[in-house]
């Protein structure tokens, strides 16, 4: 047999052996909405506001689901953050509703935050299925502990970038 044909034959076997496929999904599927906490310091003499990133101690966050029969919000069984120290939080938005409501508890004071959003299907592959991406329209919050909120990025996807800033 020709020497070159033999070399190609050996290479072919190696290449074929190396091309075994794997059906598992390797892409990330976690789509979360990210909120960062900031503190606004107002200097009375200079009249200038200075903004600092801050960490919140004893923070508890839980989703609230609207009960259509009673018209009242009931907490989702799972607690997202429980008495933890956080400077930013990542929250899952509701895939099958256009608004997601969360109760944010800061030690003894609680705020309720509602995010209004649109949902979009994003097909990944047969193995991975699809993820639901969101676009934030509006954010509302009761102002018991948090002073104000600002949307910095409307797109909620797998990148996990900052979407809103919560100011105290």
């Amino acid at each position: 047999m020709n020497k070159s044909i033999f070399i190609v034959f050996i290479m072919s076997i190696l290449l074929i052996v190396s091309c075994a496929t794997d059906d598992s999904c390797t892409q990330t599927k976690y789509v979360t909405f990210t909120a960062d906490f900031f503190h606004i310091y107002h200097n009375d003499t200079t009249k200038i506001n200075t903004i600092y990133a801050m960490s919140i101690d004893s923070l508890t966050i839980q989703g609230l689901r609207l009960d259509t029969l009673t018209g009242r919000y009931t907490p989702v069984d799972s607690i997202l953050y429980n008495n933890s120290l956080e400077s930013k939080v990542s929250l899952p938005l509701n895939n099958f509703s256009t608004h997601s409501t969360f109760r944010l508890k800061f030690k003894t004071i609680s705020d309720t935050m509602t995010i209004y959003h649109t949902n979009m299907n994003d097909y990944l592959s047969l193995e991975c299925g699809c993820v639901i991406l969101h676009k934030i329209d509006t954010v509302t919050i009761t102002r018991h502990f948090i002073d104000s909120v600002r949307i910095t990025n409307h797109d909620v996807n797998t990148i996990n970038a900052e979407n809103i800033r919560l100011y105290k």
Binding site: S4, L15, I16, G129
Partner: protein, 252 residues
């Protein structure tokens, strides 16, 4: 592993036949290749046995069947047209389904890299390398794609029916073809396939492309062909005569 086993055993079978064929020819009249000064030396019609065997032995996820017509120009250049049908009926562990049936075509050219030495026996066997451009236009269904919300609850499976796609790819081909009996050729090719037309992010991309294989980056393909050559009649001469002629040439 099953696929790898099939490929390797196919290659070994091909090599075995090649060796047996070569041994048988030792003391028999041999075929002088077609006249290299003539442009058109006929054509070969080939069927891919490898894809048929693989489709049968695989777990039923995919099937493929193809044939080819290969022109012989000066016994150096081989313009080739390949065509076939292929499909997939895949079910994942999540019970997501992908189903397609379609046709495909490939056009390209092979070059015979085997250079005949002055003192070697004339042969029709080929060691080829070439290129292909492949294309397929097909419809497919993606069903029961899981869509659940782990935190808020709820599940609505998604179905994408009657999706259409057109794909173009190129292939780099190397292989061998051996004349096992008069005008009957057996051979194999290994090919590296790369898509030219890529999927847009978020599009319902097909899991399988007829003629290309699984839509997961570059692919490797293997063909194991059986073909019949139609064309000018080959000239038969005895080995002894060739050896005598070579001796005479050496003396000169």
């Amino acid at each position: 592993m099953q696929r790898i086993f099939v490929y390797i055993s196919s290659i070994l079978l091909c090599l075995l036949l090649t060796t047996v064929s070569a041994q048988k020819k030792k003391n028999k009249p041999i075929v002088v290749p077609p006249d290299s000064t003539v442009w058109l030396n006929g054509f070969t019609v080939q069927a891919d046995i490898g894809s048929l065997v693989t489709s049968t032995l695989m777990s039923g996820d995919t099937y493929s069947s193809e044939a080819a017509i290969q022109m012989d120009l000066k016994h150096r250049i081989f313009p080739t047209l390949e065509f076939g049908v292929a499909g997939a009926n895949k079910l994942t562990t999540d019970n997501s389904g992908f189903k397609t049936n379609g046709t495909f075509e490939r056009v390209g050219v092979d070059f015979n890299l085997r250079k005949r030495k002055i003192d070697s026996k004339p042969t029709n066997n080929l060691f080829i390398a070439g290129l292909r451009i492949g294309m397929s236009h097909f419809k497919y269904n993606v069903t029961n794609v899981p869509n659940t919300d782990d935190y808020w609850g709820g599940s609505v499976p998604l179905n994408y029916m009657n999706q259409t796609s057109s794909k173009i790819w190129y292939e780099i081909v190397v292989g061998v073809q051996v004349e096992i009996i008069k005008n009957v050729f057996m051979g194999w090719t290994v090919r590296n396939k790369n898509l030219i037309s890529q999927d847009i992010t978020g599009a319902i991309a097909p899991w399988y492309i007829p003629g290309y294989g699984q839509n997961n980056g570059a692919n490797w393909g293997f063909n194991y062909t059986l073909g019949y050559h139609f064309g000018p009649k080959n000239k038969y001469i005895k080995n002894k005569k060739i050896l005598l002629n070579q001796k005479q040439l050496n003396k000169q």
